[in-house]
């Protein structure tokens, strides 16, 4: 039974292999292969998810090779946390793949797209199922590769090619940190098993607290890269160059959440050595606030959502850093649904209008009712309007922040929640309400796109309920079983809840005031608060700062190395060549004048003598006879003696 779980990632892998080799021949049918594979994964995962809901865990592994006497193994490990991730990845993933059929149907590389999506599903599922850091890291790199391939899917566009490189290189910085963290953990404790990251096991290594704190921070570094946290957040907005279903699947629902999953998995390690907790909470909060601030002024529909994703991931990371294990993972799940829905809705809008600029849209609700309504539901969910899912999970996080030692986290995160409501409804009002600002040939998307939207909308609406007091905080009890360490005990806090509702609704109303009732107000405030507006619009000049410092430093270093290469190495090579040439010229001279000279001299001397000697060859017979006679005389003369 347990071994069946190996099939979960193998179905999409088989689909990938089929599509990459036979995709061209299958043509439009290749989508069916990918959809079938992900649905099979969903069906295979279902009994395990149900089992985990009933309190079971599944583990199986086989040894692959030995390193320093320790086995490195492959396997599966399903507890409540991985069961939740399994549910999210297979369910949301399947819906997004179905949606892609409608979104990508004009694309010439249609089969290739589904091959990549299948590979991504396989990698993400094996990441979720991995019982140890070896398999985890491999899958981690594989999802990074898929992200690269899919961001650069339209690589004919220069910006897409650049964005894919940027995403790959930026996340790579985090991956290196993660790798170092894993190594440090391995050499300190000798284990790579994820289930060993709990206080009981780590107690034995308490004297190595500095090494393990560093290991925790380095592992978190991997999450910073993958989940686009400050200061490595710059890649995610650019990643929107990829097709929109990719943005939904990889850059909103699953892969970027893998960083949060990693931190949740290492929860035992980081709560054991709490110095890293502060770092994590600070970075998460800072990212959440900063990204929400950038989201306020963006004009590209996908970029607003990208900053929103960064911000929400910051929320999750902050929750984990504030020991809110259930809060962070809960928000991961609800966010996967409503953010996937928002991206798919945005994709539907782009599909229907052919533009991504929200300044050109407006009044789309009438023309695209399904897209508009589902988008509205998701926006209400992310803004934190009860009883939609986002409200419950965000409230959990705010409670965790409220009860932490530093109240500042709570204030910042609350302000961020208000900004979230504002920028989301700025987007909603500019896109779906008001009057059309530009003549666009709008059409509602086909059913293959709207049905997944509605399914996700239902998820976004109701998935908060299991974590609410109405179901006696079922989700928190469920997820806390997988915990490796001390977490915050859940406590309802009416004050926090009321403030959160007020902030969410306040943000929505403010957005309505600015963008529906008095559109002039937005421009007015934009002028008054011009420095802030510019700071937000230019994302605090992070790109420019990176350009001016890191990238210029690298270019400078590259230039120096190139100079070194050109001047020193090439110089040495050229010098060697020149000296060889000179030496061979000398040798050539010796060869021509001395060696050849000797040979020629032999010939010349022979010729000179023979030209003397041949004079006696007169051709006159009497001369010969005369000489013959003389010779006989000479011989006779000497005979006589």
């Amino acid at each position: 039974m347990v071994k069946l779980a190996y099939l979960i990632p193998l179905f999409p892998l088989a689909s990938f292999i089929t599509l990459i080799f036979f995709g061209k021949r299958l043509g439009a049918k290749s989508a069916l292969v990918a959809i079938g594979a992900s649905l099979f994964s969903l069906i295979t995962a279902a009994p395990f998810i149900c089992g985990a809901l009933a309190g079971q865990t599944y583990a199986h592994s086989f040894e692959w090779l030995y390193l320093a006497g320790k086995p490195l193994s492959f396997g599966i490990w399903i507890d409540s946390l991985s069961a939740m991730m399994l549910f999210v990845v297979t369910f949301v993933g399947s819906l997004i793949i179905i949606y892609s059929v409608g979104y990508m149907h004009h694309d010439p590389r249609f089969p290739r797209f589904f091959a990549y999506l299948s590979l991504f599903m396989a990698a993400m599922l094996s990441l979720v199922l991995s019982p140890n850091f070896v398999m985890f890291y491999m899958s981690w790199e594989l999802v990074g590769l898929c992200s690269y391939l899919l961001i650069g899917f339209w690589f004919e566009k220069d910006s897409a090619a650049r964005a894919s490189k940027k995403a790959f290189i930026t996340t790579r910085i985090g991956d290196v940190a993660l790798f170092l963290g894993i190594l440090l953990l391995f050499f300190t404790t000798g284990t790579l098993e994820l289930k060993n990251l709990n206080p009981e096991f780590l107690q034995a290594f308490a004297q190595h607290s500095r090494a393990l704190t560093l290991a925790g921070i380095l592992i978190f570094g991997g999450a910073v890269g993958k989940s686009a946290q400050f200061p490595l957040h710059v890649w995610l907005p650019d990643a929107m160059e990829g097709p929109t279903p990719v943005s939904a699947l990889i850059h909103a629902a699953t892969m970027v959440a893998a960083g949060v999953y990693l931190v949740a998995r290492s929860f035992g390690l980081i709560t054991m050595f709490p110095d890293s907790l502060t770092v994590i909470a600070t970075i998460g909060t800072l990212t959440a606030f900063m990204a929400a601030f950038f989201g306020l002024t963006q004009t590209d529909i996908k970029r607003v959502l990208a900053y929103s994703t960064i911000s929400q991931l910051g929320f999750m990371i902050a929750a984990l850093g504030l020991k809110g294990y259930a809060a962070g993972t809960f928000h991961l799940m609800t966010h996967a649904f409503f953010k996937a829905l928002l991206f798919l809705g945005a994709g539907s809008v782009i599909h229907g209008t052919g533009t991504q600029d929200i300044r050109e849209m407006g009044g789309l609700l009438k023309k695209m009712p399904h897209t508009g309504l589902t988008f509205l539901i998701a926006s209400l969910a992310i803004a934190g309007v009860p009883p939609l899912s986002g409200f419950w999970s965000k409230d959990e996080i705010l409670v965790a922040a409220f009860e932490s030692e530093h109240r500042i986290f709570y204030y910042v995160l609350s302000a961020t929640a208000a900004m979230t409501a504002f920028y989301m409804f700025r987007l909603v009002f500019l896109t779906f309400f008001g009057k059309p600002r530009k003549e666009l040939h709008v059409h509602e998307s086909p059913a293959v796109m709207t049905v997944p939207l509605w399914l996700l909308a239902v998820g976004s609406a109701v998935l908060g309920i299991p974590g609410s007091p109405w179901m006696n905080h079922f989700f928190q009890h469920f997820i806390n079983r997988s915990i490796g360490g001390e977490a915050l005990e859940h406590a309802m806090n009416p004050f926090v809840m009321n403030v959160s509702v007020a902030l969410g609704v306040g943000g929505i109303l403010l957005a309505a005031l600015f963008y529906l009732v008095f559109p002039a107000l937005a421009g007015f405030f934009g002028k008054i608060l011009r420095p802030f507006y510019l700071a937000s619009y230019h994302k605090l000049w992070f790109e420019e700062l990176d350009q001016a410092t890191v990238i210029r430093a690298w270019y400078g270093l590259g230039g120096l190395l190139a100079r070194f290469d050109l001047d020193v190495i090439d110089g040495a090579v050229n010098g060697a060549g020149r000296e060889t040439l000179r030496l061979s010229r000398i040798k050539n001279w010796i060869d021509v004048h001395i060696v050849d000279g000797l040979v020629n001299a032999v010939g010349a001397v022979t010729q000179a003598f023979s030209s003397l000697l041949r004079r006696i060859q007169t051709g006159l017979i009497q001369n010969y006879l005369f000489i013959l006679f003389l010779g006989i005389l000479v011989i006779l003369f000497f005979e006589q003696r």
């Binding site: 060859q617 051709g619 006159l620 017979i621 009497q622 006879l625």
Partner: protein, 103 residues
Amino acid sequence: MPIPLSHILIFSTLLFAIGLYGVLVRRNVIGILISIELILNAVNVNLIAFSRAHPLNPEMGQVFAIFVITLAALAATVGLAIVLALYRVKRTIYADEVNLLKW
């Protein structure tokens, strides 16, 4: 009284010297051939003279002389044929004008 051997040898030496002179200085190839005949005859005289002086087998030298006369006839035949062929090709029978085998 028989003619003493030394007289005959002096005679044959003179004959040989005349023949040799003729071979070396005559330009006409036919002259050269005639001079060669003189040399051969000088040899014949020598052979006869020494044969007569031989106490045991006085006939042997005469046989040699007859052989030489026969071969001289052959040589003259071949030589005259070569001269004829030479004349056809070069239109001359002067030896100093025929220097084909030259450097």
